[in-house]
Amino acid sequence: MSAKILIIDDEPDMLIMLEMIITDKTAYQVVTTTNPLELPELLAQENFNLVITDLKMPAKDGIEVIETVKSHNPDIPVVVITAFGTLESAEEAVRRGAYDFITKPFRKEQILVAIARALEWQRITQENRELRNRMEAEKTAAKTSGPPGD
């Protein structure tokens, strides 16, 4: 099953380019919106593996997007796109839980690499969580059913 990516940017130009690069080079499914206020609804409708967001948007800034995504599901990585010369806010975004950031203008390979890494992180995180859950479950099962007899 191919990964689903949500891209949020108030500039349609950015969405057109990002969607073009991703769908031309990968099998990932892309959903885009210029309106960050649609985020909660989009998260509720579909299971996204990754969210890419612009940091500076009029309706809702990227930091709020990170918070919304993380409270919905902490395992969804968020990659933040920042304008040139705003390194500080990019670092702030990472402190607030963004997986990675990428500064405009960037080469198309850069975003593809960032996506691949973020999805890999998401896969491992989820596997870890499942593994942990299974171990927890086994532990609990062992406790309730008592020591295995011979």
Partner: protein
């Protein structure tokens, strides 16, 4: 030397001779050089971005352009300081170019309340997101170019959003559109119908009604009568980079009491199956749910037509193509008749080259509350729809529009009953280059009879598939993948199946019709005006369409079927790249190359690059002048006497030349400037050859020659080869221009290690871009291995070094001198990547004569 005479002052004033005066001028010169270097750096960066593969936004374009503008402004100011305001003309030239750039990068001022309605007299491209591409372009034509356009007003996207919101339609429409499957025509038609039915009964918000009434009132007041209106749709990206030809509705001759129902009809037209398919193909579906509508006073048209500022099929250069018919516009673009066809030359003068006058039996006219088709009297039907004068006026407008919008344009116009031309829209034209069909196999026609050999190319290419005849809407739902669309007319709604079709053959219609434009956008081999395709071809029959040779064959001709052109769009075709290209045409092209030519003047500067080139040259000239004047004072200029053809002038700020040698000429031994002495050691290294031509291979020579055809041709390679060094005991500023190259060194070398620095820049070259790139790589690699910090952008090489001890910096300057000598024309020989590595090694090994050069032609007879 005319230039020098121009600026030679009669007599130096007493103040001019003073050291303080010179130092002030020198500060201006330094500021100018610094701004020049910085501007070139940002230009190179923008150029590299334009090559593709980058993701950027308008903010990047705006910030980069502003940064260059600021630096060029400094350059112009400092040049005027340096030259006592003798370059005031350059200020105006700069302002003019700056205005053009800002026009491209501006956005509408952010305002809290977006207006629902705007008069057309206030619309321009800054309001793109509110009014859509078509209206924004029309506003530009009206308000910036001041060409004749109708009066009117625009209902913005905000009005559309308000209609949806107040009728609670926003969400339902979006979710219906989201799940569309464009390959399922039946589902598409069904959903399209639902979408329309949701929108058409919508209630118009009171605020919108009031604003429209007010705008119409103003229109009536301005025109002195109550005009009927033409309602023209304008999508967000329409007419910018995607043509949207014929996708959305235009309603003509609407009386004001029918305004809002017609408005809703136009809004609903974005949900026709054709429009939905087009939007999806252009990846705009998610974003296109917004539409602005232009409401223009109706032009009672005697004739109407479309005009292309280039041959749309790309087979003829430098012509304008005009198609026209009687009455209102639809007759020309909807393909129901063959319009008159005119071809005009653009060069050397605008002139009518040829015309094909068709019989135009019918025309659309404004009728009571709408439009109606009527028969044209027989004798009138065969007359040309445009006069020669009208054609030439149209041609002039077309050239203006093409120049202004920066790319070939597709223009719609009408001519009113008094013979006045009115422009209705202008949008970018999709061009295709012809492709040759391979050599046809012998006896081909015995196996594959030619079924059609007459028609007009709408899009080049070869395709094969079964014939699928279409004549009304119902047929489209069964259109099979890979079929050839065959129809009587070029009806735009066939656009709904173009993404499934392999090719297209049409009986009647022109290459300028909407369907033909769409065929080109989808790169679909297509012939129009074949006359009898629907009679000759049978449904299901396997045919091969060879649009390159205007032939339709029976059966599949595998021999000539070319690999289909990929339909995926490229990054470079996106609107933001187009915007960057439009901005860059005022920034980077360099037309001003040879200062010896008479046009090396401020007035000839068309780009910021031209201004930097001009200003730099003049600044150096000014410094020479100042140096000559100041010879008697503290500061003085001397010329270096040497066998090396460098023509080096030195301005000594103090301590750079032996105090007891103050004549006009000095010898290298008289140099006391530490950095210049070190550099000179390298330049005069016995193994470096500065004289004579260097061997070049034939392709290298060709690339120089072909570049010279577009730029001004230098009379010899080292033209204008005066090199200027401004020195003191510890300081060196060295700028040289050899042929097309431009190298500067700025260095401070003293015993105080923390003050020391070295900066080297190299740009330009006579050879083509890839060769210049190779030389940049050569220089960059060598400099890196010499421990400098190197930055390469395009053909600009910047290398720096800080806080090195004096002996090490002297050594680097020595090596830089050798490197400049070697790099003098090195780009001509570097024919491929592998040779670059060879040169790097050779230089590092001290083989400065490059013995055994791989690219050289030892004997011209062999070349």
């Amino acid at each position: 030397m005319k230039l020098l005479n121009l600026f030679r002052r009669k007599k130096p004033s007493a103040a001019a001779a003073g050291e303080e005066f010179f130092k002030k001028k020198y500060q201006s010169f330094k500021n100018l050089l610094e701004a020049n270097n910085a501007a070139l750096e940002v230009m190179s960066h923008m150029e590299a971005t334009q090559e593709g593969d980058y993701v950027f936004d308008l903010q990047f374009i705006r910030a980069s352009a502003e940064s260059i503008l600021e630096k060029v402004q400094t350059i112009v100011q400092e040049l005027n300081t340096l030259g006592d305001n003798r370059y005031a003309e350059l200020v105006k030239v700069y302002q003019n170019i700056a205005a053009k750039i800002q026009n491209e990068t501006e956005a509408a001022p952010p305002s809290l309340s977006v207006p629902l309605v705007l008069p057309l007299s206030q619309v321009d491209r800054r309001f793109l997101l509110q009014v859509g591409g078509k209206n924004a372009n029309l506003g530009e034509i009206k308000n910036r170019l001041q060409l004749p356009t109708p009066e009117g007003f625009v209902l913005t996207n905000e009005a559309y959003r308000l209609v949806l919101a107040e009728n609670r339609l926003t969400e339902p429409l979006a979710s219906l559109v989201k799940e569309l499957d464009i390959d399922n025509i039946e589902q598409l038609t069904e959903k399209s119908q639902i979408l329309r039915e949701m929108l058409l009964p919508a209630k118009i918000p009171q605020r919108l009604v009031e604003e429209v009434n007010q705008q119409y009132g103003q229109l009536v007041a301005a025109l002195n009568y109550e005009p009927y209106l033409a309602l023209r749709s304008s999508g967000l990206y329409e007419d910018l980079e995607s043509s949207f030809a014929g996708q959305f509705l235009t309603v003509l001759n609407v009386p004001f009491d029918r305004f809002f129902p017609s408005y809703l009809e136009v809004l609903a037209s974005q949900f026709t199956p054709t429009a939905l398919v087009y939007l999806s193909q252009k990846r705009l579906l998610q974003r296109q749910l917004a539409m602005s509508v232009g409401c223009l006073a109706m032009v009672p048209a005697r004739s109407s037509g479309v005009m292309f500022t280039a041959d749309p099929t790309g087979s003829r250069g430098d012509v304008l193509v005009i198609d026209a018919a009687w009455g209102l516009g639809p007759a020309v673009v909807d393909g129901t008749l063959t319009p008159d066809h005119y071809v005009l030359s653009k060069q050397p003068a605008l002139d009518l080259l040829e015309q094909q006058i068709s019989r135009k039996p019918r025309r659309w006219i404004a009728a009571d509350r709408g439009i109606a088709e009527e028969a044209v009297p027989l004798e009138e039907g065969s007359q040309p729809a445009l006069t020669r004068d009208e054609l030439l006026t149209l041609g002039r407008y077309a050239l203006q529009l093409e120049e202004y919008f920066g790319s070939p344009q597709d223009i719609e116009f009408s001519v009113d009953l008094q013979g006045r031309i009115i422009l209705l829209q202008s949008r970018p034209l999709t061009l295709l280059t012809p492709r040759a069909t391979g050599i046809l196999p012998p006896h081909l026609e015995e196996r594959h009879p030619v079924l059609l050999d007459h028609g007009t190319v709408a899009c080049f290419g070869v395709a094969a598939g079964p014939v699928f005849m279409v004549d009304h809407q119902a047929d489209l739902s069964h259109f099979p993948d890979g079929a050839i669309l065959v129809a009587r007319h070029t009806t735009a709604r066939y656009g709904a199946v173009l993404h499934k079709a392999a090719g297209m053959v049409i009986d009647i219609g022109s290459a300028t019709s909407h369907l033909a434009i769409l065929a080109r956008e989808f790169k679909l081999p297509a012939l129009v005006d074949t006359g009898k395709a629907t009679q000759v071809l049978r449904p299901g029959q396997e045919i091969t369409v060879d649009a390159n040779q205007i032939r339709v064959y029976d059966g599949r001709l595998e021999e000539i079927l070319q690999a289909p052109v990929a339909k995926t769009s490229l990054l470079a075709e996106t609107p933001i790249y187009a915007r960057l290209r439009r901005v860059l045409r005022w920034i980077t092209p360099l037309r001003l190359t040879d200062p010896k030519l008479a046009n090396f003047t401020p007035a000839a500067c068309q780009t910021l690059h031209d201004i930097t080139r001009f200003a730099h040259q003049m600044a150096v000239t000014e410094m020479f002048e100042l140096g000559e004047q100041a010879r008697q004072g503290e500061v003085h200029m001397v010329q270096l006497q040497t066998n090396i053809p460098l023509n080096l002038y030195i301005i000594d700020l103090g301590g750079g030349i032996r105090a007891d040698h103050r004549g006009r000429f000095v010898s290298p031994e008289d140099i006391t400037s530490i950095p210049l002495r070190a550099l000179w050691r390298g330049i005069s290294h016995p193994e470096i050859s500065w004289a004579g031509p260097i061997p070049i291979d034939m392709r290298g020579l060709y690339s120089v020659v072909s570049r010279s055809l577009t730029a001004a041709a230098p009379q010899h390679a080292d033209f204008w080869a005066r090199t200027l060094a401004i020195v003191s005991e510890n300081y060196l500023n060295y700028s040289s221009r050899l042929g097309y190259h431009f190298a500067t060194i700025d260095a401070l070398v003293s015993d105080v290690r923390n003050d020391n620095y070295l900066s080297f820049r190299f740009k330009g070259g006579a050879a083509d871009e890839s060769r210049r790139g190779r030389r940049a790589r050569f220089l960059g690699e060598v400099l890196t291995r010499l421990d400098l910090e190197v930055d390469i952008t395009g053909d600009l090489v910047v290398a720096r070094l800080w806080k090195y001890p004096r002996p090490l910096l002297e050594e680097k300057l020595d090596l830089l001198g050798r490197l400049m000598g070697c790099a003098r024309q090195r780009d001509m020989v570097m024919a491929d990547e592998s040779t670059v590595e060879w040169y790097i090694q050779a230089f590092l090994e001290g083989n400065y004569r490059f013995a055994g050069e791989p690219g050289s032609v030892a004997n011209p007879d062999q070349g």
